[in-house]
């Protein structure tokens, strides 16, 4: 093996305030927000803008009810 030198480089991500990036199974990182966003999108016409994870049936039900101003 030839001699080699170790070095490091830092390139902060410009897309978020912390400059962080996902590493290791980075492909999985997008899936949960995609699913949650899909659920929010499906009920957005009812006024829902946010649903916590995990999106249990009860959470979705409550989000819809709260968006309607408490009338389930």
């Amino acid at each position: 093996m030839p001699a080699f030198e170790l070095d490091r480089t830092e390139t902060p991500s410009p897309t978020n305030p912390l400059g962080v990036k996902g590493i290791g199974e980075a492909g999985t990182i997008a899936a949960p927000p995609a699913v949650i966003n899909a659920i929010v999108d499906a009920v957005s016409h009812l006024g829902v803008t946010e649903i916590g994870k995990p999106a249990t049936p009860e959470r979705v039900w409550k989000a819809i009810r709260d968006a309607k101003g408490g009338a389930a």
Binding site: T56, P57, E58, W61, K62, A72
Partner: protein, 275 residues
Amino acid sequence: MIPAPFEYRRVGTVDEAIRALSDSSDAKLLAGGHSLLPLMRVRLARPSLLVDISRLQDLKYVKEDGDRVAIGALTRHHDVANSEVLQELCPIVSYAAGEIGDPQVRHVGTIGGSVAHADPASDMPTVLVALGAEMEVRGPKGVRNVGAGDFFKGLFEPDLATNEVLTEIRVPKTVGRGWSYLKFHRRAQDWALVGVATLAQNGAGPSVALTNMADRPVRATGVEEELAGGADPAAASERAAEGTSPPTDAFASAEYRRAVVKVLVRRALEEARSR
């Protein structure tokens, strides 16, 4: 987790089981063990003696009995689900048995064990209450019969003395009567967050019973009243949560259960009408 120490005795007859139970103040019967053993492993149950009745072959049967079907208490859920007698004569029972747990559970757990455990989240007790089933109980003084509506007295509290054995469950033949058992759960093998059993009655409004809406399976009397008065499923189901006291646990709040039960009752009533 490892259970607290206990003695183990296998018996060959119901009478031997009754004698063994009478010898100890906190003995428990072991049938399929699918409710009792998990509780022992977390030490919520600490019986000093287990009386193993799992080999009592003469308590494993499903047979016609006049205008009823008799089910031996040690009949496994799988065999109840696949019984041609029940599928033809009382299909709500065979259907509900097929909804209990997963295939492994159904091959080991027994109908008598599930009923005697009296878990309000279990499927079969609710179905038996909707049917007006009858339980045969044997003890030192002989045999007595208890209606399903009286048998489930509270949380894990069946109408069974410590030295009595549930031996048979009798259900009416329901040929031609619409029925439905629906449960709402997180995953297929989970207990019902809420369940509904309904059965059309000859010359009266349908019976409606609920799973996991109180400390025992309960009749939805408000819904039954509405149906007897001619209301349609949508109107009648509005009263589904009336008089209930559902639990709040890690999986659902009482408030959510009260909302879900209305939807589930409506769907069950509609399904029963289509059968």
